[in-house]
Symmetry: C2
Subunit: 309 residues, 2 copies
C-alpha cells in the first residue's frame, strides 16, 4: 500500500522573449507532463490561469510562468529539461526546483544530486539543502540569472505527515466522495470564491486544484496508513486571511509532523498549537525571494507499535 505522496516541485518564470505560455497548445503540456511520467486528467481555466489535474499531482500555467508538482516516483526534472529545451534557455528568467522530504528516497528514479547535475546540462544554478539529513529536510535548486521577484510574489506550502483523527479515518475508509472530502476539509470556507477541479484516486488518494484570478491553491492527499502525506500549496498571502488556513487544516488532519515552507511569506516561525518547531532554516536569494523552512512535530511523546514488514 506504499505510495510516495511527497512531491517534487518546479516553478519556471519566462521573460518577454518567450511566447505567452497559455498560447502553447495542449500537445506541449502533454509532452511536458509525460516527461515526468504523468498524464493530464482534467483542467479548469479562467482569464489568468490554466490548472491541470495530473495523474501525479498538478500543473498550473500562467502567461509568464508555470508551477508543476509531481509525486510518486515521477521524474519532474525531465519536465524542467523539456521546458527549457523547447522555450530556450535565453527566455528563462528564473527556475526553482524543489524536492520535499521523502519517505523512501531510495525508491526514487534519481537523487536530488543527480537532478542537479541533469539541470546544469540545461541551465546554471545553485543547490541547497535546508534541514538536517536525518530529520525532515528540503532540497532546492534555483537559477542565478538576473531576475527580480516582487515582494508580493508569495508561496506558502504546508506538508503534513502521518495524519490521524476522524477526517484521516474517512480518507482511509472504503468509500469516499470528493464532495464529502471537500466538506470535511472546509475547503469552501478556507478557499472561498475559488473554482475547483477535484479527483478521487483508486484505491485511495484525493487531489484538488482551485483558481481565483491569478491565485491558486492545490491539495494532494495520500492517506495510506504509516506513510500518509498531505500537501497544501497556495500563492495567496494567507497571513492576510481572516481564518488561519494552515492552522485549521492542521487541526483537522492532526499530522504527527509537518513542514511549512514559504517564499516571501509572512508565516515564518509562526508557532503551531500543540506542535513544537524542531528546526528552522531561512535564506534570501538575490532574485528577491526570502525562503524559510520549518519542521514541526506534535508536542508529545509518540508511542509507536513495531511495523511487521
Amino acid at each position: 500500500m506504499f505510495f510516495e505522496g511527497s512531491e517534487k516541485k518546479l516553478e519556471i518564470i519566462v521573460d518577454a522573449a518567450a511566447p505567452k505560455l497559455r498560447s502553447l497548445d495542449r500537445t506541449f503540456w502533454q509532452g511536458l507532463v509525460a516527461a515526468s511520467n504523468a498524464d493530464i486528467l482534467s483542467s479548469i481555466s479562467n482569464d489568468f490561469c490554466d490548472a491541470y489535474l495530473l495523474s501525479e499531482s498538478s500543473l498550473f500555467v500562467w502567461d509568464d510562468r508555470i508551477v508543476v508538482l509531481t509525486c510518486g516516483a515521477s521524474t519532474l526534472v525531465e519536465s524542467a529539461c523539456y521546458f527549457i529545451e523547447h522555450i530556450g534557455e535565453q527566455a528563462i528568467s528564473y527556475v526553482c526546483y524543489q524536492r520535499k522530504n521523502e519517505y523512501y528516497a531510495h525508491l526514487q528514479a534519481s537523487s536530488f544530486g543527480d537532478d542537479v547535475l541533469r539541470l546544469r546540462d540545461f541551465i546554471g544554478g545553485q543547490a541547497y539543502r535546508m534541514g538536517h539529513l536525518d530529520s525532515h529536510h528540503h532540497y532546492i535548486f534555483t537559477t542565478d540569472k538576473h531576475y527580480q521577484a516582487s515582494p508580493l510574489d508569495t508561496t506558502n506550502e504546508l506538508l503534513m505527515y502521518h495524519i490521524s483523527g476522524t477526517v484521516a479515518d474517512y480518507l482511509r475508509g472504503e468509500h469516499q466522495s470528493t464532495e464529502q472530502i471537500s466538506q470535511l476539509l472546509q475547503l469552501e470556507q478556507l478557499f472561498s470564491g475559488f473554482s475547483v477541479d477535484q479527483y478521487l484516486f483508486s484505491p485511495l488518494g484525493y487531489s484538488i486544484n482551485g483558481i481565483r484570478g491569478a491565485e491558486y491553491f492545490t491539495i494532494h492527499i495520500t492517506p495510506q496508513e504509516n506513510s500518509s502525506y498531505v500537501s497544501v500549496e497556495t500563492n495567496i498571502d494567507i497571513s492576510l486571511n481572516q481564518v488561519d488556513i494552515f492552522a485549521e487544516l492542521i487541526v483537522l488532519l492532526q499530522p504527527n509532523s509537518c513542514d511549512i515552507i514559504g517564499f516571501n511569506s509572512h508565516m515564518a516561525n509562526k508557532p503551531a498549537l500543540n506542535y513544537v518547531c524542531l528546526s528552522h532554516c531561512a535564506m534570501t536569494l538575490e532574485q528577491g525571494y526570502n525562503i524559510h523552512f520549518s519542521h514541526y512535530q506534535q508536542d508529545c511523546l509518540e508511542v509507536l507499535k513495531p511495523i511487521l514488514l
Copy 2:
C-alpha cells in the same frame, strides 16, 4: 566529506552442535568480514572473547556467539549468509540483524527489504521497523527458531547524530591522538578495567573496542560536519553502573539527536536532560528479548544554515 557512520549490526548465537567459534582460524573471520567489504585491522583477546577492530567497525567473537558492526556502504548481510552457510543453519540458535537510522539510505548497496529477502534464502525470520519512516527509525530482523535468551543477556546502544561542542571540535580538528580522544571521552572512568584497542582513521574517524571478561564495549566516531555520528554499544548492564555512562557521553558530545536501543535493558524511556523523547517503540520477542527503541532530540529550536550542495 560524507561518510555513513550509521551501522548495520549482526548477532548470531550458535548451539552445542557448532564448533567453539573461537577455535575457528583467522582465515574464517577474514572471509566473514571480507563478505562485508571490510578488513581486520587489529585484535585483542582474553579468556572469553576475541575483539577485532575492522576497517569498517568491529567484530566480537565468543565461543557461542558473534557480534559484528559495519558502517559505510558495507554489505553485512553477506557476512550473515557466509556464517550460516559455513556453520550450517541447523547449528544456529538465533540471528538478529539490525540497520540503524541512515543519513543516505539511497547510497547503500541494498535496502533493508533486499537484505531480508537475502537472509530468508538462508534462514527464516521476522522483520520489523521501529519508528516512523520520516523520522529516526530502526530495522530489525530476528529468527523465529526455538531459543530462550537469559533475561541477563542485555545490550545497550546509544547512537548520536550531529555532535557539537569542544570534544566534537577536537574530533574534527587537524590532529588527534587516540590517547587524547580516550581522555576527552573519559573512557577509563566510564569503562574501567577494560582492555582496549583503538584506531584513528585518516582523514577523520575513531574506533575503540574494549573487553573485560565476557563483557565488551565499542565506540565508533564519524565526526564529519553535517553528517556526524557516534555509536556506543555494550553488553554491560549500564543501569547498575554508578555513573550513567550514556548520560555522560551525551553531555560530552552534545548530539542534536540520539537514539537509544536496548535488549533486555533497564534504560528504556529514561529521560535525558535537555532532550525530549519524540517517539518510543517496544516489542517482546518469544526468544526472550525485550527490545526498545527511543528517539530523542535536543529540547530547543535548532536554527540551521542552508547547506550549499
